[in-house]
């Protein structure tokens, strides 16, 4: 009974770290463009399939494949921005039009992946499944420890980049006041490019990490991006520590929520949380109550 809770909490933390990575990536992009980049989820899926192709089909080692796949995911993210969002920006399209276009990209690419690799699940795991380590009454696999450590490192790196570097400061400036940022000579297009690069790299990292742990399938990005978006809203949209907090909160809530009921209800729990937040506290845990016209 007791170890059950510990196991669920631990599963929640692992799921939460993946959600947090997706949510940070989503938030980094949201801050500069201010629309819901739903196709973020298909970048996550694509990264897992890049890793699969490199490791299984081309026999390249894990570490190198990890970095190559992240680079490919970054290129994909930037290409989406340049080919679809850029013309929409030129036309000053509304947020909703961006969101629908983003759905379109998502559907197109997800089905392209399905066409190329088939709808069935694939596994990257090579070698036998090792027995997990026992830790505080929970069973933890080596890969889960790697997921946790790598995601925390990536979160810190993303945070340092935005806080400390010149590009990061430019991103914050564009996020706070695009017009003023433009006046002081910050190129908004360049900033958007950088945020898509970083955001997509983080989504890619999340997709590759999860592919080491579980099976991959073409539809995996759908729930993943939704969880990332929910985590961002729960944490406070556009707020990076909020995205981390929201990610872990969501992971824990989902996993502890299924203690007494079947695991199939996880998605419902996540959306229930979203709807409760949208109605009661739409600015999330750490957000500011300023976006009055959005609610």
């Amino acid at each position: 009974m007791n170890s059950m809770i510990q196991q669920l909490m631990f599963n929640g933390i692992i799921a939460g770290s993946i959600y947090a990575l997706i949510a940070i990536g989503f938030t980094v992009i949201y801050r500069t463009v201010k629309f819901f980049h739903f196709a973020h989820g298909v970048v996550y899926t694509a990264a897992a399939y890049f890793a699969y192709t490199l490791i299984i089909s081309l026999n390249i080692n894990f570490i190198l494949s990890f970095f190559l796949s992240i680079i490919l995911a970054t290129i994909l993210g930037i290409s989406i921005d340049r080919s679809v969002y850029y013309p929409l920006r030129k036309r000053n399209a509304s947020n909703l039009i961006f969101l629908l276009a983003s759905f379109g990209i998502f559907i197109f690419l997800q089905n392209l992946i399905q066409l190329l690799y088939g709808a069935q699940i694939l596994t990257i795991r090579t070698g036998p499944v090792k027995e997990g380590n026992h830790f505080l009454g929970a069973v933890i696999t080596d890969i889960q420890i790697i997921i946790l450590v790598v995601s925390i490192i990536l979160m810190i790196l993303a945070w340092l980049f935005i806080k400390k570097t010149k590009l990061g400061k430019a991103m914050r400036a564009v996020s706070d006041d695009p017009t003023a940022a433009n006046v002081v000579g910050i190129n908004p297009e360049k900033t958007i490019l950088v945020s898509f690069a970083i955001g997509s790299a983080l989504a890619g990292a999340a997709g590759i990490l999860i592919s080491f742990e579980t099976n991959i399938e073409p539809t995996m990005g759908f729930t993943a991006v939704l969880k990332g978006i929910i985590a961002s809203i729960v944490g406070g949209i556009g707020n990076i520590p909020g995205a981390v907090l929201g990610g872990f909160f969501l992971g824990l809530a989902e996993n502890l929520g299924i203690w007494k009921i079947s695991a199939g209800w996880k998605d419902s729990i996540a959306f229930l949380i979203l709807i409760i937040f949208l109605l009661i506290r739409p600015w999330g845990f750490l957000g500011k109550k300023t976006e009055k016209d959005a609610f």
């Binding site: 039009i97 089905n111 419902s268 739409p282």
Partner: protein
Amino acid sequence: MEYLLHILVIAGIYIILTLSLNLIVGYTGLPALGHAAFSCIGAYTSSLLALNMGLSPWIGLLIGACVAAISGIVIGYPAVRLKGDYLALATFGLGVIIYSIAKNWVSLTRGPMGLPGIPGFSIFGFELSETWTYLLLVMIFVAITIFVMRRIVDSPFGSVLRSIREDEVAAETLGKNTVKHKLLVFVIGAFFAGIAGSLYAHYITFIDPSSFTVMESITILLMVIFGGMGTVSGSVVGAVILVVFPELLRFLGMPSSIAAPMRQMIYGLLLVMLMIKRPQGIMGRYQFK
């Protein structure tokens, strides 16, 4: 020929779905992304009533539509309080929740195994088992839906809907209860989507949750946008083209493992192209603000 009739039946059901969503999205300007949830509720209600209680599909269809309409209040209630992409996200989430219920409430819906053996419609003991007879039935429902939608949008009520779409604050200033109007639009839209779901269930005789995913909702929305938001004829054209056109892939001899993702890829690409080149659709006057 039989196959062509089948495609037309499906197109007819999509016309009803598209028209009912157009009332919410195109005429009132509410970006609802969970329309398949309403047809899911209609389909399951009338199928379960027929299978478990032996109720006639005619009564099931009516009850299914009414249950869907009531769920329109439940889903509409949180949704109408939000705006723009937040409304889209909330209806999207509610769509996922309804789908999850259909999938996980196994003791009622049999979950992913679905409900087989749903009885078809019959009139005075004459069973509508031939596809052409069913096509006739669907066409009657399409005609009723078109008639009702035209009456709604040409009425003073319809003018209020358009005023909410164009400028909600102004509509409120003129003393219109916009929340009540928006909720009512959800109820009417859900009612007709429930009818469409029920028609589908009794035609195919099998339903499972995979027919009512959020992707399905986005497909219906694509039909609305493609045909043109805020036009009745646009919805008819949009639904027919987007149902019939991908079927050509099958005539080219593609196996369904290729044709199914190809069809979705066409939808995805079309959605992107529309947003970039023509967000108001082929016959529309309105685009999302």
